[in-house]
């Protein structure tokens, strides 16, 4: 027989024991069951990748059973190539680049289309006399290489413009020093860097490719075909946690910016908080474009079809990339 005091004590002891066991199990689970995965970003740490940072910092990956290493872009590497070569599990990449790789038979798979609207634009000086696209004839246009050239080339081809392409780096100095008449810029990055270099918005004129009927969705999350076939749940958990990270970032931009700046500071990157704040706000626009918070991640078949057409026409690809083999909805419930 138990005495009264012990009767009262017993449930507490039981609860305590259960708690201890639970904690031990959780400990074991975190150690044993957290899967280590890596993701390669296609650029240096910046607000363009806030979703990954928030998922990491807020423990969303951990909750998904993942221990994620977020690796920024490094010179002489290609994120998609690393995915193909199994050096990383996931990669962030532009749709056009991924489609070119896929058309070459590389086993890359679109798990989610994050950026729905192109942020690519062309800037000209307001006093350059370039008021419309036709004024670009016989002018020098600074261009970034490879897939960044898809949209401008498609534009020049469609309009039959005759101009001089100047291969340049991402520096805006050639444009600012008027070595080129027009230059490419991402709305979330170079466009604002011009502002931060003292160029007033009314001193330049912009042509947004999305407005010119050349909206190529940009950032997406990619994996090897094989990974998806073997571990669809792993892919889903990673993608869904990342997209949730974006939602949290949009809900609490200040916290998101802290997450960005921590990484920027650690990497000693020459950027500043005001610039990253701008970038995050633009990312919100182009990620939520068309789909809204609930539909984040979807690759619209029409977008893929349109992109296929342009890539084929410009000779970037030799045959269209079929939706079925290129993209899976890892962003949605199974």
């Amino acid at each position: 027989m138990l005495r009264t005091a012990e009767k009262r004590l017993l449930p507490r002891l039981t609860a305590l024991a259960a708690l201890v066991m639970l904690a031990a199990w959780a400990q074991a689970a975190s150690a044993a069951e957290l899967e280590r995965v890596t993701v390669r970003l296609h650029w240096l740490h910046q607000a363009q990748f806030t979703g990954y940072y928030m998922a990491q910092d807020l423990g969303l990956y951990r909750q998904a059973g993942l221990e994620v290493e977020v690796k920024p872009f490094e010179l002489q590497t290609s994120p998609l190539q690393e995915v193909v070569e199994r050096q990383v599990d996931f990669a962030s990449a532009w749709l056009t680049e991924a489609m070119v790789q896929a058309s070459k038979g590389k086993p890359v798979l679109n798990l989610a289309q994050v950026v729905q609207r192109s942020a690519l634009m062309m800037v000209v000086h307001a006093d350059s006399g370039i008021n419309g696209l036709w004024d670009l004839n016989n002018r020098k246009v600074g261009m970034w290489g490879e897939h960044f050239a898809v949209a401008p080339r498609a534009l020049f081809r469609r309009t039959g413009l005759s101009l001089t392409e100047v291969d340049q780096s991402v520096s805006m100095a050639p444009f600012m020093n008027r070595a080129v008449d027009a230059a490419m810029a991402m709305r979330y990055n170079e466009y604002h860097r011009l502002f931060q270099a003292g160029v007033d918005p009314d001193e330049i004129k912009v042509f947004e490719f999305a407005d010119l009927g050349l909206n190529f969705p940009e950032d997406g999350i990619y994996a090897r075909q094989e990974l998806w076939q073997k571990r669809p749940d792993l892919c889903r958990r990673f993608v869904r946690a990342t997209l949730e990270g974006w939602r949290r970032a949009f809900a609490d931009p200040a916290k998101a910016l802290d997450a960005v700046m921590r990484r920027v500071d650690a990497s000693h990157l020459p950027t500043n908080r005001a610039h990253q704040a701008w970038m995050l706000s633009v990312m919100k626009d182009i990620i939520l474009h068309r789909v809204g918070p609930a539909g984040m991640g979807e690759l619209a078949p029409s977008d893929l079809e349109f992109t296929n057409g342009v890539l084929l026409a410009l000779g970037f690809t030799e045959h269209p990339v079929p939706l079925k083999s290129f993209a899976v909805p890892a962003w949605s419930e199974p």
């Binding site: 020093n177 270099a197 500043n272 908080r273």
Partner: protein, 643 residues
């Protein structure tokens, strides 16, 4: 009467001190403020000027230093412009030769446009750079470095003119902050490539940061894109631009400043410094070459510190001066007011009745001394006057007492008993006299001439006072004498005149009513020597006017020209004899009492004992005259026949 003047709120000493202190203090304050403003302005101007010269000088020094970087590259570009295409080895030697002499340069390259050096070899760019072991040679394209895309190649090649790149972190060069100068060279008027000179910015940054701005200020350096190369906060370097700060802090003025600086402007302006967070002065000047802008910032508080210190010293001096001034003023006022206070104390003693008081310890020679002397003189005068006054008063008092005695005597010689003749029931008789002064010139008398004849006298001596009284006494005595000797009033009066006239040196005269009344018949016989006729009221109440008889006053001429009047009195007839003090009395409005009022009174007056009736008349007369001082004596005599 004017209202009482408002009293002073403070006594003389504090009032004087306060006024002087307030006045001088105000002047000192205003002067100090003006001086402070002037000094501030002057110092600020000087400091601004100094700051701008400093910025210019340092920017010039920096540009000079940078020419040591750009010159070798430009020299080599000029050499390559004129030479036929050289072998790779010669190019390396040329680069090394330049580099050896240019200690500020980290590395130099001769970068050819794709395919222009050797169509078989797309990129060609020999590069020489410093290492610990000496100069090292390398082909820039070796590691797949696509240099034609880079700013240092692209921009000068496209523009055909030299170019300084924005600073960058160079991973190949030890992750150092670098900038590159590049000068294009040509062949047959075709751009063939650029010669570059790389420069490590660490030393320049250190040097800039070490610039002595003074006064707690700091230097900073920004590029043409506004990027900080040297900044008050190390974390700003290469990360923030002046424009990103403006954006982050929402400071449009910073952005405007950045644009001026980035465009190569120079100037001085005041701003709230983003690093110090306080008002500061900024001078900026462009660095020729890369087009950077060097800024010098000094906090305004430090600029104005000397002015504030000077103002502080000035305040101390002014305060000390004011205190000294107060002391001096106080002493002066004390010196001034102490004798005044003595005079005041003496005046107080005087007012309390001390007529012996004097102000003795006040030095003469100034206004206060004069005041004291005057005061002393005044007290002496006062003493003398009071002495005289006392004597005069004593004399007057003596005279007054004598006059009083005289009045009593005068009154005593007039018959005052009533009834005057108790054993004669045939008539009722009473008379009174009221002198205008202590002693009068009026008189009356009644006496029996013989057993059946009663003499009635009323007289009025010309003049007043003691002489009149004396004259009256003489006249009365003479009349009584003559009356008792002569039954005829006319004879009696003429005799009196004859007696008075010879000795009348004073030329005094007397009007006299003199009558004899025959008790057995009621016949009244009278003469009037210049005297008004009496009033008669018959028994029935009817007033009867007695004729005005001729006759001059006694003492004027030897022939009086008297007429004799007679009237028979019936029982209850009332005769009123008066002097001109009755009808000539005036009231406050200067109206005379007049004979009419006396007649009216007599007509109305109830019959009664003679004293009561006269008192009634006197009361009536007094009511008319009120408090007005009468000029003439008043004498009344009332006779009533009873049987």
């Amino acid at each position: 009467m004017s209202p009482d003047p408002r009293p002073h709120w403070l006594r003389l000493r504090p009032r004087f001190a306060i006024f002087v202190l307030a006045g001088v203090g105000l002047v000192v304050l205003v002067t100090s403020l003006l001086t402070y403003q002037d000094n501030s302005r002057a110092l600020l101007e000087a400091r601004k000027e100094h700051l701008l010269s400093l910025a210019r000088a340092e920017a010039w020094k920096m540009a000079d230093y940078l020419r040591g970087v750009s010159a070798p590259a430009q020299n080599l570009a000029a050499v390559l412009d004129g030479l036929p295409r050289q072998s790779e080895t010669v190019l390396y030697d040329l680069l090394s030769h330049q580099l050896e002499r240019a200690s500020n340069v980290y590395g130099m390259a001769a970068a050819y446009a794709p395919g222009s050096y050797d169509p078989a070899r797309k990129l060609f760019s020999p590069y020489v750079f410093r290492t610990a072991q000496g100069l090292e040679r390398v082909q820039l394209d070796a590691a797949g470095y696509n240099y034609p895309r880079q700013d240092w190649f692209l921009i000068p090649a496209l523009l055909g003119r030299p170019f300084w790149t924005e600073p960058y972190f160079d991973e190949g060069g030890g992750n150092a902050l670098m900038t590159t100068f590049a000068a294009p060279f040509k062949r047959a008027d075709q751009g063939e490539g650029v010669v570059t000179a790389d420069m490590n910015l660490e030393a320049l940054g250190r040097q800039t940061r070490g610039l002595e701005v003074g006064l707690g200020g700091y230097p900073f350096l920004i590029t043409r894109q506004g990027t900080f190369l040297a900044a008050p906060k190390p974390e700003w370097v290469m990360r923030e631009t002046i424009f990103s700060l403006a954006e982050e802090m929402d400071r449009p003025d910073l952005r405007a400043l950045g644009r001026r600086m980035a465009r190569g402007g120079e100037g001085v302006l005041r701003l709230i410094d983003p690093a110090l967070g306080e008002a500061a002065w900024l001078a900026f000047a462009p660095v020729a070459g890369p087009g950077w802008s060097l800024g010098m910032v000094v906090p305004e508080s430090e600029v104005l510190a000397p002015v504030r210190e000077a103002a502080g010293e000035q305040a101390v001096v002014a305060a000390t001066g004011l205190v000294a001034l107060v002391v001096v003023v106080w002493l002066m006022v004390v010196g001034l007011t102490r004798p005044l206070n003595r005079v005041v104390a003496a005046a107080r003693r005087l007012s309390e009745g001390d007529l012996s008081t004097q102000v003795n310890d006040v030095r003469p020679g100034d206004e206060v001394g004069e005041l004291a002397q005057t005061f002393n003189r005044m007290v002496s005068e006062l003493n003398r006057y009071v002495g005289e006054l006392t004597a005069t008063t004593k004399a007057k008092e003596r005279i007054e007492s004598e006059l009083d005695l005289a009045r009593q005597i005068q009154q005593s010689i007039l018959p005052r008993s009533y009834p005057a003749f108790p054993d004669r029931p045939q008539f009722d008789l009473f008379a009174l006299t009221m002198p205008a002064r202590e002693v009068g010139g009026d008189f009356y008398d009644f006496f029996f001439v013989d057993n059946d004849h009663l003499g009635l006298v009323v007289g009025d001596v010309s003049g007043k006072g003691v002489p009149a009284a004396l004259f009256m006494t003489v006249a009365r005595t003479l009349i009584k004498n003559s009356g008792q000797h002569h039954r005829e009033p006319l004879t009696a009066m003429n005799e009196v005149n004859a007696q008075i006239l010879p000795d009348n040196e004073m030329m005094m005269f007397v009007t006299v009513f003199y009558a004899t009344y025959e008790l057995s018949t009621g016949l009244l016989r009278w003469v009037s020597a210049g005297h008004p006729s009496p009033l008669l009221r018959r028994a029935g109440g009817k007033l009867e006017s007695l004729p005005r008889l001729a006759g001059m006053a006694v003492g004027v001429d030897d022939d009086l020209g008297l007429e004799l009047g007679q009237v028979a009195l019936e029982p209850e007839d009332v005769l009123l004899v008066y002097t001109d003090g009755l009808d000539e009395a005036v009231n406050a409005a200067q109206e005379p009492f007049g004979l009419e009022r006396a007649e009216a009174w007599l007509a109305e007056a109830a019959s009664g004992p003679a004293p009561e009736m006269l008192e009634g008349l006197v009361e009536h007369w007094r009511q008319f005259a009120g408090a007005v001082d009468q000029f003439d004596d008043l004498t009344l005599l009332l006779f009533r026949r009873k049987l």
